[in-house]
Amino acid sequence: MAESPISNKVREMRFHSGEMTQQELAEKVGVTRQTIVAIEKQRYSPSLELAFRIARAFACGVEDVFQFENDSDMTNGGTK
């Protein structure tokens, strides 16, 4: 499976939100705990809607939680 260019700080954000559990976050955003585990391990890139829900759960913006790491591809793709 190819590594996703999208990384995230979900684990870190949970820690800073009073050590919120994976189950609590899953219930807040309406997914299973396994999906939160997969997102934290970067084995699954959530949909835009779920990314917004997660960001809202931490009361911050999407880019505070998710980062697109492959900036060079973005630049090349944008100029071609």
Partner: protein, 152 residues
């Protein structure tokens, strides 16, 4: 092992058992036909069509019973609540594994015509379809487990 992985393994093994039992019963009946185990093509077609029509509801009911028993046993053994809904990741994995299964089954369907063209009986065609259907499901379930473990 997660609930979804255990469910996939159970689906595959129960399919193997159901298909094996079904084929055993069908071949016993085929040998017991009044015209012998090698009847004419029309009789064979009617036999396999009837056998397939019976197989579908029987396998559906058997699977439902197995899934209910599995849910009860899984809860007793692990003490975990079963997932009450499928989220976007589950649906994506379901979609991808179904697509793999369907692609393989389409190939099997085309391949099942080869025995008929090359002079084998329709029994070989139906066997190819049934075993190919099982193979398609097996690959789909392996893909599903792989996606749950390694990522989508």
């Amino acid at each position: 092992m997660s609930y979804q992985e255990a469910k996939s393994l159970l689906m595959t093994s129960s399919s193997a058992v159901i298909l094996g039992t079904y084929l055993w019963v069908v071949f016993n009946r085929l040998e017991g036909l009044p015209s012998g185990p090698l009847p004419d093509t029309d009789t064979l077609l009617r036999f396999w069509a009837a056998a397939t029509l019976v197989f579908i509801p029987v396998s559906v009911v058997a699977r439902i019973v197995i899934m209910i028993l599995f849910a009860i046993i899984y809860r007793m053994v692990t003490g975990q609540d079963l997932p009450t809904f499928e989220d976007e990741r589950d649906k994506l994995i379901e979609l991808k594994s179904t697509r793999v299964s369907q692609a393989i089954f389409v190939l099997v369907f085309v391949l099942s015509m080869v025995p008929v063209v090359t002079g084998y009986t329709v029994t070989v065609m139906f066997l190819t379809l049934l075993l190919g259907g099982f193979f398609a499901e097996l690959v789909g379930e392996i893909g599903r487990i792989s996606m749950y473990r390694r990522g989508v």
